[in-house]
């Protein structure tokens, strides 16, 4: 990250912009060290990082909206129709 000048300690305002790169393992080795050094000394940024982690966890618990009974029936009918139809068209493989 070029916004970081070398050697200088990170400010909290910079740390909050680096949390995703940190969590994605996209920081250089030296930036990662500086980031972690800041966290060790800064309970506020540690709390912030924890809040981001909790945000991610909470987002991961969102469940899909259920299908309506009508939609279930419609997809069952579609499925039968598709299965009854001729040879498949081209789809990408995996």
């Amino acid at each position: 990250m070029n916004l970081l000048r070398r050697r200088e300690d990170l400010a909290c305002r910079q740390v909050v912009e680096l949390v995703t790169d940190y969590l994605e393992n996209a920081l250089s080795r030296s930036d990662r060290k500086r980031f972690e050094r800041h966290l060790r000394a800064c309970p506020n940024c540690s709390a912030y990082l924890d809040q981001i982690r909790q945000t991610i966890a909470t987002t991961g618990r969102l469940t899909p909206e259920s299908l309506t009974p009508e939609a279930r029936d419609a997809f069952t009918d579609l499925y039968r129709a598709w299965r009854a139809e001729g040879p498949p068209d081209e789809e990408p493989g995996t």
Partner: protein, 199 residues
């Protein structure tokens, strides 16, 4: 809950129940992401229906080299792009949009006020006290590609490389979009906690 792979095995045997379960599992997310590629809900619904047809007819060619959901979302995006509708490719990448409001910091860039740690069970509570809808609304309110990335990464659990492939964006853009999206959601949850008076 049956895994996607178990359902796919049943689907290969022509089990329509397995198909309906898979549709239920992914329909709302497919519609959300499709909607950001096409200009109307009606077109998004067509694209998604077409996607499921592609799944049913292409199931024998799915070899499991990627996860089912990556394959599924890739089919959807392909369909959306060939639906004859111009894609809104505008990437809202504003490099100046801060993760946290600047007025939360002092002149030296340090937090002006202490950050109150959330209780460790906050995510349980958010769900238990049905805060899901508030978070869902916040996810839906994210701008186009931010929402797509957050939905695919954090709701559906695709990894970064798969999201880049599905959405055809670079790793760097993926990270910026994810960063903006997650930062906004954190702010929403923080505000919710504060208004409800329990932080």
């Amino acid at each position: 809950m049956e895994s996607d792979d178990e359902l796919l095995t049943r689907l290969r045997d022509g089990d329509e129940q397995a198909f309906v379960i898979l549709v239920g599992r992914y329909q709302s997310t497919l519609l959300r992401v499709a909607r950001s590629f096409v200009p109307s809900t009606a077109v998004a619904e067509e694209v998604v229906q077409d996607t499921w047809m592609g799944v049913v007819r292409g199931i024998d060619r799915f070899e499991g080299r990627s996860s089912f959901k990556t394959w599924l979302f890739r089919i959807m995006v392909n369909r959306a792009r060939t639906s004859g509708v111009r894609e809104n490719r505008h990437l809202t990448l504003d490099p100046t949009e801060p993760a946290v409001s600047p007025d939360r910091f002092d002149a030296n860039g340090a937090w002006a006020e202490p950050i109150a740690p959330w209780e460790s069970d906050v995510d349980d509570r958010l769900v238990a006290e049905s805060w899901g809808p508030a978070l869902r609304a916040a996810v839906d309110a994210l701008p186009g590609r931010q929402r797509d990335v957050v939905v695919l990464r954090d709701v559906e659990g695709l990894d970064a490389a798969d999201v880049c492939e599905v959405l055809d964006i670079s790793e760097g853009n993926q990270r910026v979009l994810l960063h903006r999206g997650r930062s906004r959601l954190r702010t929403v949850l923080e505000d919710e906690l504060r208004t409800r008076g329990r932080s």
